[in-house]
């Protein structure tokens, strides 16, 4: 049956409408959960608030468990589900830039827009920074061209498809990997809760 868009059960025009509705819902929930506060977000780095990690890790494993059960019930064709292509060096460089931007600005791009929407001035500057970054990247595209397209990635990543799955690479079954992810998430939740207890919480 699914995925609904890839099989034209939902047309691509409606896809945009639904994406808009989901986007509004996502932003609303982010704001309600306090993700528009840069202090809360920066807490992950300083160790006093790990709610960001908990929320996104929970979202990931919930989606993962849901997909596995949908697949088992024959309701989704996993071969049609979009998998983000793997780029090695550009991911490392991009991840580092994003991390620095995150801790400098106090937002990740999604929460930045969220906070800008409720009128936080620091978030407005953060968004301005994003657009300056985009402009700079576009102007200097020739410099980043090879890195961006992953042309210097190891051969294993360039052959054929970049839809690499971790569990295929380490040679275990997807289900065992999923179980491992759940355990990993629970351990992360317990450990971060311990850290939160030890670190003094600032007032915010």
């Amino acid at each position: 049956m699914g995925p609904l868009v890839a099989q034209d059960i939902i047309s691509s025009e409606w896809n945009f409408v639904i994406a808009l509705l989901i986007g509004i819902g996502f932003g609303f929930v982010l704001e309600q959960a306090g993700f528009s506060s840069s202090k809360k977000l920066a807490g992950v780095f300083y160790g006093y608030d790990f709610v960001v990690l908990r929320v996104f890790f929970t979202a990931a494993i919930t989606a993962m468990v849901g997909l596995i059960f949908l697949n088992y019930l024959g309701l989704i064709d996993m071969s049609l589900v979009y998998i983000n292509p793997t780029y090695l060096y550009s991911t490392i460089v991009g991840g580092a830039i994003m991390g620095v931007g995150f801790i400098l600005g106090g937002f990740c791009p999604g929460t930045g827009v969220c906070a800008a929407a409720i009128g936080k001035i620091d978030a407005w500057f953060f968004l301005l920074g994003i657009f300056i970054g985009i402009f700079f990247f576009a102007e200097a595209y020739d410099l980043f061209h090879d890195l961006y397209l992953g042309l210097s990635d190891p051969a294993a990543f360039q052959e054929g498809t970049r839809n690499i799955k971790v569990y295929d690479q380490i040679g275990i079954s997807g289900n065992l990997f999923a179980f491992g992810m759940i355990i990993m998430a629970l351990v992360a939740f317990i450990v971060t809760a311990q850290i939160e207890k030890k670190v003094k919480k600032p007032n915010y």
Binding site: I61, V65, Y72, N175, F179, I183
Partner: protein, 203 residues
Amino acid sequence: MNKKYIIAASTLIILGTIILFLPEKDNSKIDFTADKLMMNLVESTRMMDSDEVANLIITKDPSLQLIDVRTSEEYAKFHLPGAINIPLAEILDEQWEAYVNQATRKNVFYSNGSIRADQAWIICRRGGYIKNYILVGGLNNWMRTVISPEIPEDTDDNLAWERYNFRKATAQYFLGGTSQTVVPVRKADPVVKRKKKAVQGGC
């Protein structure tokens, strides 16, 4: 520790344990996309023409499996040698699955024309079955080409005559009797005599 956390964590652990014992499944064959089917439909390799099939029958090719998708009454009246009868309505019956869902033989579907054979082919393709083919034009075309081939025109090329002789030979195989290789007798073009004409005009 918060009670809610314990409930959430244990739910996840239970689900994770169930996942550990779930079999791996690939649904890509269940949902055969319209695009994929379309790509397969326009491929001409799914067709087999009557000469090719006749050749396979005569040479007793073991990989050939003719499948008559007409009704059993029609099959009883006439069918190609070695054909089995799987009526279109029963094509997905379990008893026939070993025939249509396999990868070693070439299944050639045929009906009177090629509509029913085509339908059978599409049904099988959507089921993810491979190695199925269609007899182009069905039995009607079979009769026209293999059994009573038309004599080519004198002006046709040698290929047409070779094909005609091949078909005469196959007709002999299927019907008995003798046949002789026919060599086209090409008549010479009538000579067009030029009439002498008086020079017209003049100064």
